[in-house]
Symmetry: C2
Subunit: 190 residues, 2 copies
């Protein structure tokens, strides 16, 4: 049963990436997960909103760990930041600008209309900011500078996804990578 629940959440993450929250129907999720229709309401008694909260939480962990994996593979956070933005530009280009985290899309869709989903997105972004700020502190930055740099890093990454997906070119992610590298270098005072 847990496997079915996992498949449903993964299918929701995939569909939200392409169609957003409002544009995804429960029927589509069930079909994509190859699950019996009743199972989705068995696992998510709160319906689509509860499923979406689980999908946001899942996507938050997956994309956080993806970024951390790239960041931590480098010798320091400055070269790690360069690697993250280079990888983001490469993935966008290789996947026809489709393979992106759905959290930003859902956050903008629901910020003013669903308090539980806004809160779920807030938990994800707060976790990303805290985790990244922790890495920058470990790299030598004072806490306040590390936190501000982490916020700018995530804003430049999400703004890059927005502009690149819309323009279908990697230009913005490359320009933003230069800025993120300078911001992180400034925060750790390298």
């Amino acid at each position: 049963m847990t496997e079915t629940r996992d498949r449903i959440v993964d299918a929701a993450v995939d569909l939200f990436r392409v169609h957003g929250y409002t544009g995804t129907a429960m029927k589509q999720v069930v079909a994509a997960a190859d699950a019996p229709f009743g199972s989705v309401y068995h696992h998510f008694r709160g319906g689509k909103q509860e499923l979406a909260a689980a999908a946001i939480e899942r996507a938050g962990v997956v994309y956080r760990d993806l970024v951390l994996g790239i960041l931590d593979a480098e010798d320091d956070v400055v070269t790690g930041t360069r690697a993250v933005f280079d990888a983001a530009a490469a993935v966008l280009d290789a996947t026809d600008y489709a393979d992106v985290c759905p959290v930003a899309t859902v956050a903008l869709e629901v910020a003013s209309t669903s308090e539980p989903l806004r809160a779920a997105c807030d938990t994800v972004f707060a976790d990303w900011i805290d985790t990244l700020a922790g890495r920058l502190e470990h790299g030598g930055g004072p806490p306040a500078a590390a936190r501000s740099a982490a916020i700018a890093f995530i804003s430049l990454l999400e703004g890059g996804f927005l502009l690149c997906r819309t323009a279908r070119t990697p230009e913005a992610m490359r320009a933003n990578g230069d800025v993120a590298v300078a911001v992180v270098a400034g925060a750790v005072d390298r």
Copy 2:
């Protein structure tokens, strides 16, 4: 008839800000515009997608001119950049994090599913980047640096809207304002 068309487009912009593109029904737009139902199909034979393209174009001009008005009121682009981010933080706080441009929301919703609307959003962002880069060039920046700084400025503003609306605090817009000021100052070499 032009007035009716204008009212319909304005109503669509307002509804997209709160509910996004997919979450807004034509019936809601007609009701909010206080227009006869048939009028929307008279003015927009292409239906919701054609109306959305007009709403994106309208929002693009309105929000571009809003930013330029604040930027151009200051003595130089560096203090102007500070004023833009301060104003964005103040407006978010004063409007309960609701009064924002709908272009980013719609862009993320439709980037992978509607080519005409992706193109409409691309036209808006390209115009914003070109216009802002022009101001930075006029402020003394070389063209390539001005363009990169304009991309980062818009990414930091949109990323700030995303994080502030989700967290319901102005913190991210203030942190991103500091970075945008440094980026613009670097581009115009002040």
